[in-house]
Point group: C2
Chain length 363, copies 2
């Protein structure tokens, strides 16, 4: 993997990544000339025991581009700067101009609930220069590179002692609120382990303490043995509809061997994980022969300087549809109580996805 670090005119950082060497003369553009001056803060929610982030400058963005303007496309006309330069690179990562968390955050307000500076990192991860592509359509080599990029961003975030957790994700589709359709994801680095991965780590740690086994790796062995919900089974990675799916068409993708984070992947496991991931994405696209919206979230070990044999790198896909033409709305029992209600069995959605025929290129 080759990379090139650049600074944007407004002070934000940009890194270009490629499997090929990158020309050192590339200059980073920005649609913005002034430094961003973001100053988000955190407030403690005493009843839920969790932090909430406030970035009030996000709502009234002064920048109102025309609808055809794509800030994630490589810049063509310097009079109309985008976020990315032209040049021969494959993946680009830059600091979000409207971050929910930033390392420059300072001076939180004093309130009746505890507050803290909104320290963290919010990055945009652009998967390709092609605005009409999708992650599913990118070559395996690009998906492997992306797995390396997520690892590199994790390692870089870890250099800041206040960062405790790095979470890459992709919101895909207008149905999940996406307005910018150029293929991209985001990466949040948090100054604490957020509630969802914290809960998972608790469960994984309790299981490891009593069984001396990695919980998800054990679930994977059961899925391989059962086979009914399996979507991909390679030498090093699997994809399956979990027996406890909370969303119709939910899928998990994970290495087979214990692997706490992106940087613990062997080259062989990374290549197979890319195949598992691409298989799922192509099955989603093929299911209804149209772009398939989802939230993809990657979980890994926290950054606390300790080994984490109990936890497993894995992606979860949470699609918003419960059938071809009906969305699943999260309402009373899901958001209010936290108990998800499913009207379709994981075995049924797995059967549908298993039937979608997928051909991967040789990697």
């Amino acid at each position: 993997m080759h990379s090139l670090d650049l600074n944007k005119p407004d002070g934000r950082k940009l890194t270009l990544y490629s499997n090929r060497p990158i020309e050192g003369t590339i200059v980073a553009p920005s649609p913005f000339a002034e430094p961003q001056g973001a100053n988000p803060h955190l407030r403690w929610h005493p009843m839920r025991g969790e932090w909430v982030a406030y970035a009030a400058y996000r709502q009234n963005r002064t920048f109102q581009p025309p609808p055809e303007y794509n800030p994630l496309a490589p810049m063509v006309d310097p009079a109309n700067p985008t976020e990315l330069p032209p040049g021969d690179y494959e993946v680009a990562v830059f600091e979000n101009r409207f971050p929910t968390l930033t390392l420059e955050s300072h001076s939180p307000p004093t309130l009746d609930v505890p507050t803290a500076a909104g320290e963290g990192i919010c990055e945009v991860v652009v998967f390709t220069q092609d605005p009409l592509a999708s992650l599913a359509g990118l070559p395996l080599s690009r998906i492997e590179l992306l797995l390396q990029v997520w690892g590199d961003r994790t390692a870089r975030a870890a250099r800041n002692p206040q960062i405790r957790y790095v979470l890459p994700f992709e919101n895909r589709g207008a149905e999940v609120g996406v307005t910018l359709h150029h293929p991209h994801g985001q990466l949040y680095a948090y100054p604490f382990v957020p509630p969802v991965p914290a809960r998972m780590l608790e469960q994984e740690a309790a299981h490891f303490a009593s069984h001396r086994q990695n919980l998800l790796c054990q679930m994977v062995q059961a899925e391989i043995a059962n086979g009914e919900r399996l979507l991909y089974r390679g030498e090093h990675a699997v994809a399956f509809v979990p027996p406890c799916a909370r969303y119709p068409y939910e899928v998990w993708v994970t290495p087979i061997a214990p692997t706490p984070d992106f940087n613990a992947l062997t080259p062989e496991a990374r290549a197979d994980l890319a195949r598992a991931l691409k298989t799922v994405l192509l099955k989603y696209e093929g299911l209804w022969q149209r772009p398939f919206p989802y939230l993809m979230t990657w979980y890994q070990a926290p950054l606390d300087g300790r080994a984490h044999p109990e936890t497993q790198l894995h992606a979860t896909f949470s699609p918003p549809y419960r059938s071809r033409d009906r969305l699943k709305y999260l309402a009373g029992t899901e958001l209010g109580a936290g108990m998800f209600a499913m009207d379709v069995l994981p075995e049924a959605t797995a059967a549908q996805l298993r039937e979608v025929h997928v051909v991967l290129e040789e990697s």
Copy 2:
């Protein structure tokens, strides 16, 4: 409060409630003749440590009514039965025909994750016979009655030793997935304390153990003293935008004195809580001069036979809009990580809601 218990032809139970005596000759209709035969089950989610409910018969409902058919309107023509009879009553509660949980659930499947019968109660709570009304527009006497009805349903659910938690809620508006606009809410009775109230109880118990004070009551005192986010302040109840709001326009409504559940409300507190609730609903309707969608959830003490001085009856409103014409989508950081990101400060939405002038009738 007067009530009348009836049985529907398909075996489901119906209770009519009113502030006036109810004619004993009313007969309960049903759009369905056959017993429902629902048999949901629960599966344990090992990675999150929570139950997920599966009611697969919900997706393919055989009953496909015409769009103008309103099953919650009082029946006019016995050839076209609805869920409710004609007659002089105010509020009606009946068992959901397509329940996520039911006391008749049995024989869960055997899987690689733990499973259990989907025992519980799912009820529909109809607020009025008028299909065009809204909760905001109902008289205070009706809202007080509704608070009594929720208490009565809690007491009835508590007679089943397997029920541990009762959660009334209202999903309002097409934006949160509601297709049936006749004013109604739902009530779920769970065989466990679900994750969200379980987390609250944990936080409340920890606070009570170290401060000997009810956490939410203490927050209420701070809100009253500060005043900036207060929307209603009566002798016995308040409504306010919490300083740690996770949704724009989020509001909490609660009694001022420690009150663990609906049935601990004094008549005076109940009347004032109805005023607080109606004030919030009218402010919501007035804000943009149009129906305002929300998820309203009521939290109370669990049913475990113990006193709960640490916990407080309260409603939370989670509206889906972040501004007049933009929805807040829950995506990567909210659903994937569990950290909510807000681009508007609670003080700003409180100021907007405080400006909406509301007049309540004399109660």
